[in-house]
Amino acid sequence: MGSLIAAMAASSLAAAPTIVGREAPDFVLRGLDGRNLRLSEFRGQVVLVNFWSRSDGDSRQQMPALDRINITYQRAGLVVLGVSVDDDLRRSKEFAAAMGVSYPILFDTGTKIGKDYLLQKMPMTILVDRSGVVRYSAVGFKRGGERVYLDQIRELLRE
């Protein structure tokens, strides 16, 4: 019984599958302003991709923080892309418009991108370096949590 519990604990502690170190799967999505954006067209810039859901509290809390990061670092070569994974496109668009963030918000109503990026929990934030490789991935968000990946952003911008 003890060994069974230990095995279960070990399996729950096992590292979640991640795409860090792999080339970021390409996608093209329609934005809030009607333009289509393709991830690979930002090759040469550091890209922060934030997958979010309207119904998730952490996602809503994270967006203003990402907006501040975008305003501060976009001149240094950072691109922030928000990707909504909500099924209800209309309500998601309304929510995104109400948030009024400065970075592009894209809408994914399919399932392929979620599978490609191994999405499990919202929000999920990934950092893609200038050569298109995923260098950092974080799940969830707590107030002030942006400091954790701010260091990563600065490091990638310096490369």
Partner: protein, 187 residues
């Protein structure tokens, strides 16, 4: 041959083999401070050679993969081109073959611009059995006066034993101030 003759012949050989500065009795010039060492140069050449080999190998593998996945007797390739584009700004294309969606492609501003500049994109590559087939393409974007615009084009074609090439063409119909959508069968 005595010792004296040997010494003379060795000196002659040495003078011939040594560089001019040796024969002139000068000291060798010091290497240029910025010039990379010879070993580094050869290593760099080797790396460049390896990179070229990798590119060549990648090209060969791509061709082989195309031949295996899309054999010439079943291959169907669909291309898209755009001419002028005054009356239409392309946003997306959906392709159906025999009523089954095979491709849905969203165009970014950069991709649409590349098509307007004369680019031709292979939008779909697949396999089809020999016989009659129907291809329907739906084009959506902004039409005249920035209005949302959606049009379709259909072609019925015979797939023979060879590869089939089709082209989606978007052109401007100047007299009607409307875009025109055609599908051309490259026999």
């Amino acid at each position: 041959m005595n010792l004296k003759h040997r010494m003379v012949s060795l000196m002659v050989c040495g003078a011939l083999l040594s560089p001019a500065w040796m024969a002139m009795g000068e000291t060798p010039p010091p290497p240029a401070p910025d010039a990379p060492p010879a070993e580094l140069k050869t290593l760099d050449q080797e790396v460049q050679g390896l990179k070229k080999d990798v590119v060549d190998l990648n090209k060969d593998l791509f061709v082989l993969q195309e031949q295996l996945l899309f054999p010439a007797n079943t291959q169907v390739a669909l291309y898209i081109s755009m001419d002028v584009g005054t009356f239409f700004a392309l946003d997306s294309v959906t392709v159906k073959i025999d009523n089954k969606e095979v491709k849905n492609y969203l165009y970014t501003a950069r991709e649409a611009d590349a098509l307007l500049k004369g680019g031709v994109q292979q939008i779909y590559l697949g396999n089809l059995k020999v016989g009659k087939h129907e291809l329907v393409a739906f084009f959506s974007g902004k039409g005249p006066v920035e209005r949302d615009y959606k049009r379709g084009a259909t072609i019925n074609f015979d797939k023979g034993v060879g590869a089939k090439y089709l082209e989606l063409k978007i052109t401007d119909r100047v007299p009607k101030h409307q875009p025109e959508f055609m599908i051309k069968d490259w026999e």
